[in-house]
Amino acid sequence: MSEPFAFQTVVHLVQPWGEPAFDFAALARGIADAPDAVLFRHVVQGALRHPAAAELPPDDFSAWAADAMQSPETAERLSYATQVRHDDPATLREALLAALESAPPVRAHEGAGFTFLATVPLCVPTGLVAATPDELFETLASADAATWFLHLVEEPWLAGHAPLLEWLVAQEARPLAELLRDAAHSGLPIDAARALARRRWRRRQLGRRLAEANTRPEGARREAGRSAVARLVRRARGDSAS
């Protein structure tokens, strides 16, 4: 029996970094020199600032290119880089720099420069632990958005490996690990990604539950059926009331 998985949560302190950029050339120099924590702040961490959004806002680089620099073409290229080529800091940096190669030589107004920010993560134990893959899923689905983000987005991106997914694989729960990884990479805001994972997980559990139910005595099966119908009715009433 392996050790239970201990959940952590994360808070990001934010610090200014370097000099503000007033044109795309300076933005490119900043991106080339910035530590990974800066790219993380401007591209990846936005998901945690808007966990319940209907749709994720654009990353900070493309938002600046569109709004302050009025360069929609550069904004599109940057946006493509951050959404499609963001797997790790090195790939992202390279993609951002390539997107900026053909950017126009325009200059931002005074006060509208791009200020680079860096995150300083503070990870803290939540006190929540999971002994089985099922427990892990239930806990992760109901934990705060920062816990989901830390274990499924931040650790893989910044550290290059995901202890939570590795733990699941060690528990012979590779399908669940893949389901969680896919949900986290869906490009959806955190709450929507979690809902997606829950739906997929329940669907997968259905087959297992049916198989288990078939091994139960007739009386227990009937009782379970009655409870399920009662739950359905309650849910329908609740839905119509709201």
Binding site: V11, V14, V124, G127
Partner: protein, 411 residues
């Protein structure tokens, strides 16, 4: 210079905030507080009542206590001369042309020296708010303590002659916290960013039902059959109240609505009285504009006004952070605001509100919102979530605790 006394509370603050913020963020806050168990925090500012900092501390101190981080609040006091000097410093940091003599600066430091002897600053985490007590770190710092300076002021236009002596004292701190990146001065002391926050439990933001809103607004005779467009701001040229009237008049060519401009009476601000007069003059002969000069404690009236409004405007020409925007978003209002200062952090264009850069832009977006209830609902709903995640007191408490945990880990 005795410790401030808090009003009695019946409710658990942690549970009160949990109902608004949700369980996840509160558990994060509890987890960080748990990490700081065994440490004691001291907050220091220069007033127990009045002003935004005292308002925040009245909530944060008991909240941190409930979370298991023993926290005391020390109030530094001084005589009228000290307050005249700190007022001049405050104005100079905001960019006003003030003169500080060498005598003034010596008196400022002498008052800090007296405070350093009398205040109980023996916690291991000391958070000093704003410039008045800024000299305390150099005077009282003990080994093993962590000192952080929390600057609530917009320093982006600060007069160099006023900023320099303040910044010289900040060098004695382990870190400094600013509300916005544009407020950060050039300084070796590590700078961190923490936007200001609003309190969902305060009279300005607490839930009000329709009856309570009616009761609060009854004295003003506002029309009930027209959508209200409101700007809540002191009467200051940088808040552009006359620009709001111009934009409203342009939008009124196509839409029916009533404009309310509500702000402080500005008794102690001669320029405020001038701007109020200009605003009245611009709205002369218009029966679709109401100008309300409210007393400083009219929190529930402002709450009711924001809740009754169909659109809330913040058409500032220059802004520090503009928490009135967060207040409106928290109440699920549709917001049109200028893309200046800290406003774009709160108003994400087309997601939580609409950003504008001109009178014409403001008129266009006002008209658009007045015509489209679906858009108002969508922006309002997302705005509420955005404030819940980023601009409530619990997030500010979390940032302070996280910074101290970070500084302690660096030992």
């Amino acid at each position: 210079m005795s410790p401030a006394i808090f009003p009695e509370r019946g409710l658990s603050l942690v549970e009160g905030y949990r109902t608004f913020v949700g369980d996840g963020p509160m558990r994060t806050l509890e987890a960080i507080a748990h990490r700081l168990r065994g440490h004691r925090m001291v907050m220091v500012n220069s007033t127990a009542t009045g002003g935004g900092v005292a308002e925040i501390l009245h909530r944060l101190v008991p909240l941190l206590e409930e979370l298991g981080v023993p926290t005391s609040w020390e109030v530094m006091s001084g005589d009228p001369r000290f307050y005249a000097i700190t007022k001049a410093i405050h104005n100079g940091l905001h960019g006003a042309p003030v003169t500080l003599s060498r005598d003034d600066l010596e008196y400022f430091e002498e008052t800090n020296r007296l405070a350093a002897r009398s205040l109980a600053l023996d916690g291991d985490l000391v958070l000093i708010h704003d410039p008045q007590p800024v000299a305390l770190a150099a005077l009282r710092r003990d080994r093993g303590q962590r000192w952080v300076w929390r600057c609530h002021i917009d320093l982006s236009r600060a007069r160099p002659a006023v900023l320099a002596p303040v910044v010289a004292h900040v060098r004695a701190y382990d870190a400094a916290i600013y509300s916005h990146v544009s407020f950060v001065p050039r300084l070796e002391t590590p700078a961190f960013l923490a936007p200001p926050s609003i309190d969902p439990l305060s009279p300005k933001n607490e839930p009000l039902d329709d009856e309570a809103v009616d009761h609060q607004l009854a004295p003003f005779g506002l029309p009930r059959d027209l959508p209200l467009v409101t700007q809540v701001s002191r009467f200051d040229r940088l808040k552009d109240p006359t620009g709001v009237i111009d934009a409203f008049v342009m939008a009124r060519r196509r839409e029916r609505a009533h404009l309310v401009l509500a702000g402080g009476t500005a008794d102690d601000d001669p320029e405020g009285a001038e701007v109020l007069a200009e605003t009245h003059a611009r709205a002369a002969h218009r029966d679709d504009v109401t100008i309300l000069a409210l007393p400083p404690d009219a929190h529930r009236t402002i709450n009711a006004l924001q809740r009754r409004s169909t659109v809330v405007v913040q058409k500032s020409l220059r802004e520090g952070f503009a928490l009135t925007v967060a207040e409106a978003l928290w109440k699920r209002r549709a917001v049109v605001a200028s893309a200046v200062g800290g406003i774009p952090l709160q108003v994400l264009h087309e997601r939580t509100g609409l950003l504008v850069r001109s009178v014409e832009g403001c008129a266009l977006q006002l008209g658009r919102l007045l015509r489209d209830p679906g858009l108002r609902r969508r922006l309002g709903a997302e705005g509420r979530e955005h404030v819940r995640d980023n601009f409530l007191h619990t997030r500010e408490a979390r940032d302070y605790l996280a910074l101290f945990a970070h500084l302690l880990a660096q030992q």
